[in-house]
């Protein structure tokens, strides 16, 4: 290997690492607040990417129907709870609260997409489609289990992932799509050939991480989310509804998924089931980082990206094996060095 190839691999690794960092941060965020290991995070990315690709051609993305299905599920469940309390007025109101935004968004997408208003509008519409799926998914799959163990939540998470992948096949089809880059053009720095899109990946990731740091450090709602993660009972005692924290965390995870999709969809072809492998690499990074700290997760994500880039050069057939196997020594080391801590302390 010469210097140029090494530089190229480093660049590749950093770009991939930046994407994995976004996924890892979303996983850490959701786990800290709700104790859910969010396997469907990858689905947020693929569904957003495939929706962008569909809208680029003026086609209505299948995600519209998924949004309506999830909203209906949430409406039925909320109304069911209210009906068990024998308050039909509250049931109707809760159903409306769940359905109205989804219907409004679906209508906007159905009307605006065929007009082909350009990338910026498409990104906004895509965010409007995918971000609410986070809270709806939380309502349907996880809120009824909010007090269950991490293992039960993980099983629900796997279930949600399988269901979403299957729906993805129905809604988006088996074909893969790639979108045109947000930033076109490229330039050369020394021996390196840098595309605008790859600079955007790194820049957007840094901006998002800085934004998250500000959100958790400065805003009351951000502090409330952090507080729910530190001490769930303490959070309830100051009146922070656990359910609200869960919905916000899931909405943020879905929003991070949309950003990841805008960044990654022009670089790689996405299929309905690509989310799992992408998500798994974010998961490896989050685990190596200890599922607790954002900076550690970001550093681990960069390491995973670099490891992937270099192993694809030296042993391309084993690239995934090497990345996923790297979790084993880390877990071994962690189980030997760290003391077990209780879930609730």
């Amino acid at each position: 290997m010469d210097f140029t190839i090494a530089l190229f691999l480093i660049q590749d690794g950093i770009i991939n690492g930046a994407i994995y960092a976004l996924l890892a941060v979303a996983l850490v965020l959701v786990f800290a607040v709700t104790r859910v290991i969010l396997i469907p995070q990858g689905e947020f990315v693929t569904f957003a990417g495939l929706s962008l690709a569909a809208m680029e051609t003026g086609g209505v993305p299948g995600a519209v129907w998924l949004l309506l299905v999830l909203a209906t599920g949430a409406a039925v469940m909320d109304a069911g709870v209210a009906l068990r309390e024998r308050s039909p007025v509250k049931a109707a109101r809760l159903a409306m609260w769940n359905l109205a935004p989804a219907i409004a968004i679906a209508a906007a997408v159905l009307i605006l997409v065929p007009l082909k208003l350009g990338l910026a509008v498409n990104v906004v519409l895509c965010a409007a489609l995918i971000v609410p799926m986070g809270p709806y998914l939380y309502r349907v799959a996880f809120q009824p289990l909010a007090d269950a163990s991490v293992l039960v939540l993980l099983i629900a998470s796997v279930g949600a992932h399988l269901a979403l992948t299957a729906l993805g096949l129905v809604l988006f089809g088996a074909e893969g799509y790639r979108t045109s880059p947000v930033v076109s053009g490229s330039f050369q720095i020394g021996p390196l050939f840098v595309t605008g899109q790859s600079l955007l990946v790194v820049g957007a990731t840094l901006a998002l991480l800085a934004g998250l740091a500000l959100f958790f450090g400065r805003t009351l709602i951000g502090k409330a989310l952090k507080a729910s993660a530190i001490n769930r009972r303490g959070a309830r005692l100051v009146g922070i509804p656990t359910m609200l924290s869960g919905r916000i965390a899931f909405a943020m995870a879905a929003a991070i998924g949309v950003v990841s999709a805008v960044l990654v969809a022009p670089l790689t072809t996405l299929y309905y089931d690509s989310g799992f492998i992408i998500g798994l690499k974010g998961f490896v990074a989050a685990i190596i980082g200890g599922l607790g700290a954002y900076p550690a997760a970001v550093a681990a994500a960069l390491a995973v990206g670099l490891l992937e880039a270099f192993s694809s050069f030296w042993a391309s057939a084993f690239k995934e094996v090497i990345v996923f196997a790297s979790i084993l020594p880390v877990l071994l080391w962690r189980s030997l060095t760290s003391t077990h801590s209780d879930e609730e302390d």
Binding site: E85, L220, K223, A224, K226, A227, I230, N231, R233, G234, A235, R236, L237, V238, G239, I240, P241, T242
Partner: protein, 240 residues
């Protein structure tokens, strides 16, 4: 005076174990009511059930409203705050952030005024406002837990063993603050193992034994009762 909190036949089960058995008690508006009793008598479970943190059977009526279906978070918004025995602080956040979150249901606009009030009660918290809650001493942690609860401007403040593990001088200060709060109109439900100290500041008292409320009455009468003295002495021996 009218009843701010009415608890009727409240029971709490952990599996087959009945931690609280058909307890009834009342907190009048503007008074300190205390529940005393030995370790394991069910005092903590009683407070957790009133707060809505534990499932329970029976009646909990606050200011005329039945709380059966009201979750703990909404009880906070209605004006009930609990300072739990474990304090449940946000350890890696600053003192100021812990306090600000105490006013979560009041909104950002009310934070400065509430903060000023809490800092006036506990000047030590102002000195340490940048420090992480997890690095505070035991007494300071208790002050922070109380301060955080007061940020919500509660009408009923429930305190679970505020004297636990604290030096006698700090206990005196904290109980002094509790009586000041009562004089300002905050109603207080105080759970204590330190029965003598609790009965000294309380208006009414209840004795809990093995999950049931066995005695009740004005605090001064309870303090003079020989059976209470016996329980109290037992508690004192347990603590030494």
């Amino acid at each position: 005076m009218s009843a701010l909190l009415e608890v009727g036949d409240l029971s709490v089960n952990y599996g087959r174990v009945e931690a609280v058995r058909a307890v009834s008690l009342t907190v009048q508006s503007g008074e300190i009511a205390t529940v005393i009793g030995a370790n394991g008598a069910g005092k903590t479970s009683l407070l957790a059930a009133i707060m809505g943190l534990l499932p329970s059977r029976g009646r909990v009526v606050f200011d005329g409203q039945d709380l059966v279906r009201v979750p703990a978070e909404e009880r906070v918004a209605m004006g009930i705050s609990l300072v739990p025995e474990q304090r449940d602080l946000f350890g890696t956040m600053s003192v100021a952030d812990n306090l600000a979150l105490g006013a979560f249901r009041r909104g950002r606009a009310e934070i400065p005024a509430r903060l000023e009030r809490v800092y006036a009660l506990f000047p030590r918290l102002e000195e340490r406002h940048r420090q992480e809650a997890g690095t505070l001493s035991g007494g300071e942690r208790q002050m922070l837990a109380m301060g955080r609860a007061l940020m919500a401007k509660p009408r009923l403040l429930m305190l679970d063993e505020p004297s636990l593990g604290l030096a006698p001088l700090i206990v005196r200060d904290i109980l002094q603050t509790v009586s000041e709060l009562r004089d300002e109109g905050v109603s207080i439900l105080l759970v204590e193992q330190n029965a003598r100290a609790a009965l000294r500041i309380a208006d009414h008292g209840y004795v809990m034994e093995l999950g049931a409320a066995t005695m009740r009455g004005p605090a001064a009468e309870l303090a003079a009762d020989p059976r209470v003295a016996e329980i109290y002495l037992g508690a004192a021996q347990g603590m030494s």
